[in-house]
Amino acid sequence: MENREFLLRRLHSLLGIIPIGVFLTQHLIVNHFATQGESAFNSASHFMANLPFVIFLEIFVIYLPLVYHAFYGLYIAFTSKHNVGHYSYLRNRLLVLQRYTGIFLVVFIAWHVFETRFQVAVGNAAEADFNMMADILANPLMLAFYIAGVLSATFHLANGLWSFLVTWGITQSEKSQRYANYFTLLVFIVLSVIGIRALFAFV
């Protein structure tokens, strides 16, 4: 694997936005149907779950990119020595937060997929519908876990978008990077509001 690191890092950065970031945004928006009531969510969820070639869409748009991003991300995270104690600059803090949310998301997403999609796949549940989520989120501990999961995901995406812009050489100047701060903060807030509103619609 000599001299593959550059390509692997670029792939890691790209997959985080396309398709994973696009998928996360879509997922949170579909979840938001829950705010319009049980039947609105169920029909949206039913539509998504019955897309043509859905298993291939899931494998190539979600599972493979996500597994690569998660495991290569863990490898990256454990090759850094974080030093926010002495170098407590904004971007350094955000980097550490990016790493912690990433590690947490590996656990959260694994559990979330096991609890929902996997149960459907093995036949323990007919469909990932409104009632399934309402049952899960009826437990206050699970609700807290899901809130942490959604906020970690939206932060990780928003901050990842910032570093994507630098990694691909789009934002170079200090000024453009500063405006990217504001823009990605907005992305974080908007996606968080959508995600959290959806969660509370099930409670």
Partner: protein, 256 residues
């Protein structure tokens, strides 16, 4: 500081050689106006007695220019890597904690071996190759405004502070760090240096190169020369993006 407190307290992380365990030693140095960390270390060298009143070995450190242009006196002062010649005692919280930059092999006390930086400069071909069998005459002219801009990048003193501040330069990673990366932008900006532009870009696309940056941006905050290291890195990111596609899809003409 009150009238009585006319001394400066130091805690120094020392070791006798590279592979020996480090230990902390405290010193109390008489205060003089406008003193810096180096003049305090000179005072310790003149009278090597620690806080317990015991005679000890003088503390070793590296220095040369004493005006922040050589990069030799880098050390970690109160947790942050910087040049000790410009670390003024009046601006530091006491006790002043001095440590070597342990990202590098520690030779003795505060002396470190920065030769990995020279190795990195060789790796990224940070020079303008002009040797040949006959005189090629003058190279292309460099626009004055471009020269002035490039001058800022040429201020790098390979002091190693950016490597020490970077969370990704450590013994678990082979990242060469920000300083040699920025030198690639400098030499690619040179009209003659640009003739080997693709070689340098391909060098930093290797393992331990540009890809290992995680954008903590500690480097640009820490650089004593104010070099726009993160702008260099982002600019190189764009150039390597193009180079990456060119390497795969491009024709056989690699040089501009």
């Amino acid at each position: 500081m009150g009238e009585a407190a006319k001394t400066v307290l130091f805690e120094i992380e020392r070791r006798n050689s590279t592979n020996e365990e480090s230990y902390w030693e405290k010193f109390e140095v008489p205060y003089r106006a406008n003193m810096n960390v180096i003049s305090a270390l000179m005072e310790i060298r003149r009278n090597p007695v620690n806080m317990d009143g015991k005679k000890t070995t003088p503390v070793n450190w590296d220095m040369a220019c004493l005006e922040e242009v050589c990069g030799a006196c880098s050390m970690v002062i109160n947790g942050k890597a910087r040049q000790s010649c410009t670390a003024l005692i009046d601006q530091l919280e006491q006790p002043i904690r001095l440590q070597p930059m342990k990202t590098f092999p520690v030779v003795r006390d505060l002396v470190i071996d920065r030769s990995r930086m020279f190795e990195s400069l060789k790796k990224v071909k940070a020079w303008v190759p002009i040797d040949g069998t006959h005189d090629l005459g003058d190279g292309p002219r460099m626009p004055e405004r471009k020269r002035q801009w490039a001058y800022e990048l040429s201020k790098c003193i390979t002091c190693g502070v950016c490597l020490e501040a970077c969370p990704n330069v450590n013994d678990k990673s082979d990242f060469i760090g920000p300083a040699p990366l920025s030198q690639v932008r400098l030499f690619n900006a040179h009209p003659t240096g640009a003739m080997n532009r693709d070689e340098r870009l391909n060098a930093i696309m290797g393992d331990g190169g540009l890809g290992s940056c995680s954008n903590s941006q500690n480097c640009v905050e820490s650089c004593p020369k104010g070099i726009p290291l993160t702008t260099s890195i982002a600019a190189l990111n764009r150039e390597t993006t193009v180079q990456m596609f060119r390497n795969f899809f491009g024709s056989d003409r690699m040089v501009d």
